[in-house]
């Protein structure tokens, strides 16, 4: 029983390793996309706010 458990654990770890790092890479890509998207939004805004003066 103990041998089977160890085998399962080893199998899971060997499978989780590449999976885990893939998820991290995917998440990092997603995060950078979000930052890039936001940067594009901010770059398009005027540096000074519009001040309305009635005349």
């Amino acid at each position: 029983m103990e041998k089977i458990t160890i085998q399962i654990r080893q199998h899971l770890l060997s499978w989780m390793g590449p999976m885990f790092f893939s998820i991290i890479s995917l998440g990092a890509g997603f995060l950078i996309a979000l930052v890039l998207h936001y940067a594009l939004y901010r770059m398009g805004l005027p540096s000074k706010p519009f001040i309305y003066a009635a005349f």
């Binding site: 890479s25 998207h37 009635a54």
Partner: protein, 408 residues
């Protein structure tokens, strides 16, 4: 685990998966923005009040504004879009007593009135662009805006609202209208550097694909805002979702400015009131005024190119008079010139192909909160004038023949 803790970063970092995440992220943002903005997310929209306007670094997008229309207007209703400046925006009128609410009440359920007027805008800004973009989706539409006699419209919009015109133009959503193209080309040649033109076009085309303006406006409106402004200078209100801010317009009725006008401000305002018409007229003899021919020609050329021909006839331009509090100080001669300018001004808009009328001739000083902006009482009078005109236009265009069978 068969991953060596000492393995180089290349063994841990997966470039292809990272790139997939990057692309997926951009696609997810763009798709979310498209869907959300298209159907509209502004609940209980009244107008673009200060906290959701460029004054507070919130720049409503074209698709966001179209979404507001889609969320409110049924296909069987006549869409009435209000554009123009702070007067039609309803400065000095609380949200529940603003003139466009009264206009909606007078017109009834067959019409949907949406106020897209901005402070400091022209009749060709904001609402005008949205009306043109929605010309096929909402063919039963009337556009209402305001202007001063012989003040030139800007076919390419006015800062800070010009971005809406560029977006619509660069996305190919505007009509290909030769007289306007000519005016825009002149403007670009004389006023916008080549590098800036490339920058504007590039940003608009990138936004057309990635929808970053729509996405982050939605985030800012619904969840959290990321930009400080003079209207929200302090933390935490600077990052509050814009929807948390209610439309809290000042109420002129609580302190009308004609009761607090100082001599200095009255003198300044009188200079503006006289300048309203003196620039365009010359004396022909001892008892008459004549419009400068070049004023008429210059106006007509720009007005003809401001809005495409097929949309002009359903555009109502209201020429607003100044407050009688100031007008009473004009001499009889100046009053005669003023009256003539409003008459000629409306005729000029009509000659250019628009519908036009004036308001304010029979208004009282208490209908105004300052020289030009109306109190709630003045707003009700304006709404009555506009409602009558809009109903006439709707009849002329056979808008009223469509039955009310569509239910949301």
């Amino acid at each position: 685990m068969n991953i060596n803790p000492q393995a180089p970063a290349a063994a841990i970092f997966r470039p292809r998966v990272f790139l997939t995440g990057l692309i997926l992220g951009l696609v997810a943002c763009a798709l979310t923005a498209r869907i959300i903005s298209h159907r509209g997310y502004h609940e209980k929209f009244t107008r673009f009040h200060v906290k959701i306007s460029p004054e507070a670094n919130y720049y409503p997008t074209l698709e966001e504004m179209c979404g507001i229309v889609r969320a409110r207007c049924r296909p069987d209703q006549v869409l009435v879009i209000i554009g123009g400046n702070s007067i039609l925006h309803g400065v000095g009128q609380p949200a529940d007593r603003m003139w466009s609410i009264e206009l909606q009440r007078l017109l009834g359920d067959r019409f949907v009135v949406i106020n897209f007027a901005f402070r400091g805008a022209l009749c060709t800004d904001g609402g005008a662009v949205v009306a043109e973009v929605l010309r096929y989706e909402y063919p039963q539409q009337i556009y209402v805006a305001n202007a001063a006699p012989f003040n030139l419209p800007a076919p390419y919009g006015l800062e800070p609202y010009r971005y809406l015109f560029w977006s619509a133009r660069n996305w190919g959503l505007l009509e290909d209208f030769a007289p306007r193209n000519e005016l825009v080309a002149e403007f670009l040649q004389t006023s916008v550097e080549d590098a800036r033109q490339v920058e504007i076009r590039g940003a608009d085309l990138l936004d057309q694909v990635l929808r970053f303006r729509d996405f982050w406006n939605w985030v800012g409106y619904q969840y959290f805002f990321t930009i400080q402004s003079p209207h929200t200078p302090d933390f935490p209100s600077a990052i509050w979702a814009r929807k948390k801010f209610r439309d809290k317009e000042d109420n002129f009725d609580e302190q009308p400015s004609y009761q607090r006008s100082t001599f200095a401000s009255t003198a300044i305002e009188m200079g503006i009131v006289r300048g309203f018409t003196s620039l365009f007229y010359q004396r022909v003899d001892s008892d008459g005024w004549k419009l400068n021919p070049q004023s008429w020609d210059a106006f007509l050329r720009v007005a003809r190119g401001a809005i495409p021909d097929d949309l002009k006839a359903r555009t109502l331009i209201m020429l607003g008079r100044n407050s009688p509090y100031y007008l009473k100080n004009l001499t009889a001669d100046e009053t005669a010139r003023d009256n003539l300018a409003y008459q000629d001004g409306a005729a000029a808009w009509r000659a250019a192909g628009y519908m036009s009328a004036e308001y304010g001739r029979d208004f009282e000083a208490r209908d105004y909160g300052d020289r030009a902006h109306l109190t709630a009482a003045g707003g009700r009078k304006l709404a009555a004038v506009v409602a009558a005109k809009v109903q006439d236009m709707a009849k002329d265009f056979d808008y009223m023949k469509v039955s009310l069978k569509w239910k949301k």
